[in-house]
């Protein structure tokens, strides 16, 4: 048995909890491969979920962090396209089998190991997800829902009182479910992820509090933030209304209830399904929903389900969506006799059923939370802990723990009323305004738990001890110490396990709180997921009120300072809160009391009022009459008339204002209407498009011979390096950092300036990309005694923020630091349907897990309808102006240096300047290495391109012979996706360029730079010979309170790599180490980047002071 298999199976914690790093670090390739063989055999023949998944993650780690970096691991294109397809289609076993065969035949290879790492990791997560889904389905109380496949088999019936109309008021009763949200007092290092609970139940514990909230200063008293209302209606349909999303849909067909992407009401649909009203077994039925309603409610009747979230935006870290789902499910269950009582609280068994159905609902809707997220269903303060699986549990024999945890409510004898009061008097709860996707964080947590990496495992043990201490302090009632402890938890275990959990914004808030309040600031409380959204600050009660106001002011100020650097979705808010000692509570309202929430009527009443009275159903007429009455007499309904006015008067002004701003912006940013109209016409006529980006299939694409690429990896002659050093001393080199893009993949379309994102803590401080490049420059400049000139290219999206940032550092042109503002922008277009279809159907995409994939496919149809309605190929203007325009590709960023006079100013400042090192803002390892400069000098090439050996995820083209010509080729231009898999080298987009040769190909010389018309003519001439690529990008549209929609838009770009095809611009290629050439494109890469030593490597290139 292999050492690692022994670790997995050992019953002794000291063996089982060993870190894989300590074992693999000293192993040879043969030993590592031996371990892989054992693990592979073991994981295939093992039924135990934990064993299987840990083996898969061990295999991933060996390939990703060890085999890939061994000197004997070869490069070259060995991974066939079929493997890529297998992985995209989630056929991981097939991909692994194929890759292992190649490895067996050809030996160790970087491409193969990177692909194996990817496949093992994804298979690990898929295995986990499937197990969670299996457990949700087989939870007792839910089984029947998957068996009921036809309306005639529907077993539920609404309670009699629900279908009994009040004779006088003419209303059906309304069930109103009011549910508090949950706060997590312990954080416990994400121990509420399902897998941890199922594998390490004793380590899965949280202190969870149900709270009511209101926005401080805006509302009077905290109330349960989540509400669900349900009532019978006189139509055989299901009507779903979300008052906070201002959205309403009427379901008439069962199939459309299962389409979660066609509107904003996926959560309500999931609730109807997960509660069993239309059970999940009916998915796929194309039948009128009235067939179900006939049995469920009664002939000719239907029901209406309304959701309301009171002023909590997305990203609050208060589990709002799970709580809302639970609230809606509870209301549905009450109506259909699935709870003992129609009103009041729930009994424990019912709460557990609601929790399991909320998990089911999240799975159906393609989202996911933790197992503590339904905590608001329970009352007050409770400890939620993982539970071992026992015989009879569906998990028994498969995992150590159960899917569902147990909830131990802490009563007043456990935590006194005084302590509860003190906690409320000390804690300031805020929403910092950031809304981020925590999915990648949860994956990282799972991975780290499985690998038991020394530092992280120790942190988890510490967090467990902190939990015990915290629970103790809560019993003792010492809130000051509790604050110290939550701060210690955040600074220690939480930040150790996931460094990315904190950010510059949070850190600055904590630091300012300490500075301002000194010992009266007791500590920061990390609420869950990631910081920046929902957070807690614990103060001495004496200063709490002052601190509340100060925090709001400080958060707004810091948001303003950082809003281009970090993804804010809204303005920060401070909440008032109160512990809710009841948990979810239902009220049955009858007669004239049977009204929906006020916001419901502001949404629905205008539709009714627009109709003739004679067209209204008797029920609607009665309801309007009742509304008229209560709007004069009853509390909050008195606002109804004014709210209706606001809604019914068309709000045209705002729209005009927005269009005007966009057109002003276009004028200010060098937008060429003529060029835009030409591109638009070409696109509409089908002469350009995604399919047309591709080279014809007759073009021969081959992998270059290995001697065509200079091995910068292996040691080069010392003389080259010395020449490079000499050139640096003479100031012959300048660095050009391409920073015009917004990093759509990095921020998922949030529109921040990627260069300014403080993504990692180097030397104790959060640093952004710009800081890193400046620090590398600082180090080189110090080593060679002369400052290296440095240009950051910008665009309309990035310029002012970057200029402001650089100004704040006190550096400028006098220090050799330049900004080169963009001179070209494009206006985004609504995509053509054929391009969208090509994008989704012809280009490879990762198939998601079953339910998410269904969601994605449903969404595609919705988006196609959207673009048809908006006008295919027409201007995209329905968003913030800055989200409507786009940078036109990095090709323009070099000519811009000529056009905007930057190069000229640089030459004036430093006539010795002869070479440029151009690189992407996210290529953090690219540094002005004298050896590389010397290599470029010695080669005599006009341009030297840095390439790296291709790994699995390096997609987007590379170095190829195209009909015999060695050049870079864009992935977009390859005749088919398979061609890329024959290419061994990937383009890092780092170029060493000889300035005079660059000018020459543009038909210019140094002396022409002060002649703008000559420069413009040269650039336009060259631009015509460069291909334009049509691309589909995803753009976020923000609305409501932190809500975001993502739309595909069409834009075009020209890329610098195409310069390598110019016959009179001699280009050479040098293979560099991966750490130098790799780019950070997605936040999810960060963890691997830290773990594989890349972060440390970059740190070594920098001088921070």
């Amino acid at each position: 048995m292999g050492i690692l298999v022994n670790i997995i199976t050992s019953g002794k914690p000291e063996v089982r909890d060993q870190a894989i790093e300590n074992i693999c670090a000293g192993m040879t390739a043969a030993e590592l491969l031996g371990e892989c063989g054992e693990l592979e055999l073991f994981r295939k023949n093992n039924r135990n979920l934990y064993h299987k998944v840990r083996a898969l993650f061990f295999l991933y780690v060996i390939h990703r962090y060890y085999l890939l970096f061994l000197p004997e691991t070869g490069s070259g294109a060995l991974v066939p396209f079929s493997v890529w397809e297998h992985i995209l289609n989630r056929r991981f076993e097939e991909a692994i089998a194929c890759l292992l065969e190649i490895q067996q035949l050809k030996g160790l290879n970087q491409g193969v190991s990177s692909a194996l790492a990817d496949a093992y990791r994804k298979l690990g997560f898929q295995t986990l997800t499937e197990q969670v889904q299996q457990s949700v389905r087989s939870t007792t109380g839910n089984n029947w829902m998957f068996r009921v496949g036809h309306p005639l088999d529907h077993p539920l019936v609404f309670r009699k009182e629900m279908v009994t109309k009040d004779e006088i008021a003419g209303t059906y009763p309304v069930i109103r479910e009011a549910t508090p949200v949950r706060m997590d007092l312990s954080h416990s290092c994400w121990s509420d992820i399902f897998f941890l609970g199922m594998d390490f139940p004793e380590g899965a514990r949280v202190l969870n509090i149900s709270v009511d909230l209101c926005i401080s200063g805006e509302e009077e008293t905290p109330v349960p933030p989540v509400e669900a209302c349900l009532r019978v209606i006189d139509e055989p349909v299901i009507r779903l209304v979300s008052t906070d999303l201002e959205s309403m849909v009427t379901i008439t067909n069962i199939a459309s209830l299962f389409n979660f992407a066609e509107d904003y009401l996926g959560l309500l649909k999931a609730a109807v399904i997960a509660s069993g009203l239309v059970p999940p077994g009916m998915e796929g039925l194309n039948m009128p929903v009235s067939l179900v309603l006939d049995r469920l409610v009664g002939p000719g009747l239907g029901f209406e389900l309304v959701s309301q979230v009171n002023n909590i935006p997305k990203g609050s870290r208060l589990a709002v969506s799970t709580t809302l789902l639970a609230s809606l499910i509870t209301a549905c269950m009450r109506a259909s006799r699935q709870t003992r009582h129609i009103s009041g609280g729930l009994i424990e068994e019912e709460r557990r059923l609601v929790a399991s159905r909320a998990i089911l609902g999240e799975w159906l809707g393609g989202s996911g939370g933790g197992w503590q997220d339904s905590g608001g269903v329970w009352p007050g303060i409770k400890i939620i802990s993982g539970e071992k699986a026992h015989p009879g549990d569906p998990e028994f024999g498969i995992s150590i723990g159960r899917l569902l945890p147990t909830h131990k409510i802490l009563h007043f004898e456990d935590v006194s009323g005084e302590t509860r009061e003190n906690l409320q008097n000390s804690l300031v709860v805020v929403h910092g305004g950031m809304a981020q996707n925590v999915g990648p964080i949860l994956e990282m947590v799972t991975e780290k738990y499985l690998l038991r990496s020394e530092k992280e495992w120790k942190a988890r043990r510490t967090a467990m001890a902190i939990f015990d201490e915290l629970a103790g302090l809560l019993k003792e009632g010492d809130i000051r110490k509790l604050g110290e402890l939550t701060q210690r938890n955040f600074d220690g275990p939480v930040s150790t396990i996931i460094p990315a959990v904190t950010n510059a914004y949070t850190e600055s808030l904590i630091a300012s709180s300490k500075e301002k309040f000194g010992s009266a600031f007791w500590g920061f409380w990390m609420m869950g997921g990631m910081s920046g959204g929902g957070m807690g600050f614990i103060f001495d009660p004496k200063v709490k009120n002052e601190a509340k106001e100060w925090l709001l002011h400080t958060m707004l100020r810091e948001k303003k300072r950082l809003e281009k650097a970090l993804p804010f979705a809204m303005d920060p808010v401070v909440y008032d809160f109160r512990i809710n000692e009841k948990g979810t509570t239902g009220t049955l309202m009858k007669g004239e009391e049977a009204l929906m929430p006020l916001k419901y009527y502001t949404l629905v009443a205008p539709l009714l009022l627009k109709k003739e009275m004679t067209q209204l159903s008797p029920g609607s007429r009665k309801e309007l009459e009742l509304l008229g009455k209560v709007s004069r007499t009853r509390g909050m309904y008195k606002q109804l008339m004014s709210e209706l006015f606001v809604r019914m008067v068309p709000q045209q002004f705002q729209k005009n204002e927005r269009l005007l701003t966009l057109s002003e912006l276009l004028d200010a940013t060098g937008f060429s209407k003529t060029m835009h109209e030409e591109i638009k016409a070409e696109l509409k006529a089908g002469r350009i498009g995604l399919a047309r980006n591709r080279l014809p299939v007759s073009v021969k694409i081959t992998d270059p011979q290995s001697e065509e690429v200079i091995r910068a990896v292996s040691s080069r002659p010392e003389v080259e390096k010395r020449a490079g050093e000499e050139a640096l001393r003479k100031r012959e080199l300048a660095i050009v950092t391409l920073a015009g893009g917004v990093g759509s993949r990095w921020s998922q379309g949030a529109g921040i300036v990627k260069a300014l994102h403080p993504f990692y803590r180097f030397s104790g401080t959060h640093r952004n990309f710009l800081d890193v490049h400046l620090a590398k420059n600082r180090k080189i400049s110090r080593e060679y005694g002369e400052p290296v000139q440095h240009v950051f290219t910008t665009s309309y999206l990035t310029h002012s923020a970057m200029a402001q940032y650089l100004a704040s550092t006190g550096s400028g042109e006098k220090d050799g630091l330049f900004l080169s503002p963009g001179r070209f922008v494009g206006l985004r277009l609504h995509p053509m349907e054929r391009d969208l279809r090509f994008y989704w159907n012809e280009m490879s995409h990762q198939v998601l897990d079953q339910q998410k994939q269904k969601m994605a496919e449903n969404l595609q149809n919705t988006l196609i309808n959207w673009t048809r309605q908006m006008g295919e190929g027409d201007d995209y203007t329905d968003n913030e102006p800055e989200q409507c325009i786009h940078p036109v590709g990095h090709w323009f960023e070099i000519p811009n240096l000529l056009l905007n006079g930057t190069l000229q100013r640089m030459l004036r400042q430093n006539p010795n300047l002869r070479y440029l090192m151009v690189h992407n803002v996210d290529t953090l390892g690219a540094t002005a290495d004298p050896a590389m400069l010397g290599l470029h000098l010695a080669s005599g090439h006009h341009m030297t391109v840095e390439v790296i050996s291709r790994w699995m995820d390096d997609r987007g083209g590379g170095l190829a012979r195209v009909n015999g010509l060695l050049r870079l080729v864009e992935g977009l231009a390859l005749p088919d996706e398979e061609a890329e898999f024959n290419l061994s080298y990937y383009n890092t987009n780092t170029f060493w360029i000889t300035v005079d040769e660059l000018l020459r190909v543009f038909g210019l010389s140094r002396n022409d730079l002060d002649n703008p018309s000559l420069v413009t003519a040269g650039i336009l001439e060259m631009s015509r010979s460069m291909p334009s690529y049509i691309t589909i990008k995803e753009v976020k549209k923000r609305w409501g309170k932190g809500q975001e929609d993502i739309f595909p838009v069409t834009q075009f770009e020209k890329l610098w790599g195409d310069m390598t095809a110019l016959p009179d611009f001699r280009t050479g290629y040098a293979e560099v180490p991966r750490r130098r050439g790799q780019q950070l494109k997605e936040i999810a890469q960060l963890d691997g980047w830290i773990k594989d030593g890349s972060a440390e490597y970059v740190n070594g290139l920098c001088s921070w002071e």
Partner: protein, 290 residues
């Protein structure tokens, strides 16, 4: 005295006072011997043929004359028991305390008809099981989960490896499937099937004090039977006898029609009825095609 004699059952109780079922038992059917009879008459004949000679009928006080008129032929064997307040099923049984006299008794609901393939007496099997086991026995039937919302349903375990007897552990009135999955799974049942009351019971005298106690605790509330049966199961030996016979709830949609068809198909009119039905279908198809 043998075991059978200790548990001699010579009284039967039929309840027919519920607001929805007051006159249902007077619906007329053609029985398997081609005789036109009311549902109640068919039931009483079955009871009498099981060796029972006294039948109590719990009715709404206003209905006594009507029932008396219809049941003249059984004069002397019948006792009409008025339920003066509509306080539920359990209360209806409680009204018969005096009539039952502290003895075990057969109980049927008035709006059901019970049949089997062979035409044998359905109640007799339950009576024999009760006498054999000397305890309360209720007839139960495997029921799909989609229908359990219509019946009293039991949680149970198999009794001494007998093929058709179960020890009742829990009784719940009209449960929803989620609850049933948690509490009412019976070993050996098919997935999604539960044991539901068939409508034929032999109750031990212990039931009435339980009902009485529950009634006293909340004299104005509706008194169901299921809670009392749950208590009976908790405190005494109480078995369920699984039956494959047919039960027809004539209060349900088409209940009477189904009962009529089933009755006719077990008697001499079987061929006639089948031919008539077939003829009807054929003609209907023909007309549709024309």
């Amino acid at each position: 005295m043998n075991r059978m004699e200790t548990w001699k059952i010579d009284k039967a109780l039929i309840t027919s006072a519920g607001p929805d079922q007051r006159t249902l038992p007077l619906q007329t059917l053609i029985d398997k011997n081609r005789k036109k009879r009311t549902v109640l008459e068919i039931q009483i004949d079955e009871i009498l043929s099981a060796g029972i000679d006294r039948v109590g009928l719990v009715i709404h006080p206003e209905d006594e004359d009507l029932f008396r008129k219809h049941l003249q032929v059984y004069a002397g064997k019948m006792q009409f028991i008025p339920q003066n307040e509509p306080l539920g099923y359990g209360h209806a049984i409680l009204c018969a305390t005096e009539f039952l006299g502290g003895e075990p008794f057969l109980h049927l609901v008035g709006d059901h008809l019970f049949l089997n393939q062979t035409g044998d007496n359905v109640a007799l099997r339950v009576i024999h099981a009760a006498q054999e086991q000397q305890c309360a026995v209720s007839g139960v039937q495997q029921t799909r989960e989609s229908l359990i919302g219509n019946f009293g349903t039991i949680g149970a375990e198999r009794f001494q490896a007998a093929s058709d007897l179960f020890r009742i552990t829990k009784v719940v009135e009209k449960p929803v499937p989620s609850f049933a999955e948690h509490h009412l799974l019976v070993p050996g049942m098919r997935t999604g099937h539960y044991l539901c009351f068939f409508g034929v019971h032999v109750f031990s005298p212990a039931l009435l004090p339980i009902l009485q106690k529950q009634y006293q605790e909340a004299p104005t509330a509706r008194l169901g039977l299921s809670d009392a049966l749950h208590e009976l199961a908790r405190t005494t030996k109480y078995l369920a006898l699984e039956s494959n016979d047919w039960r027809f709830d004539i209060g349900q949609d088409y209940g009477l029609l189904k009962a009529q068809i089933a009755l006719s198909l077990t008697g001499p009119d079987r061929d006639f009825l089948l031919t008539e039905l077939l003829q009807f279908f054929l003609e209907r198809e023909k007309r549709n095609n024309d």
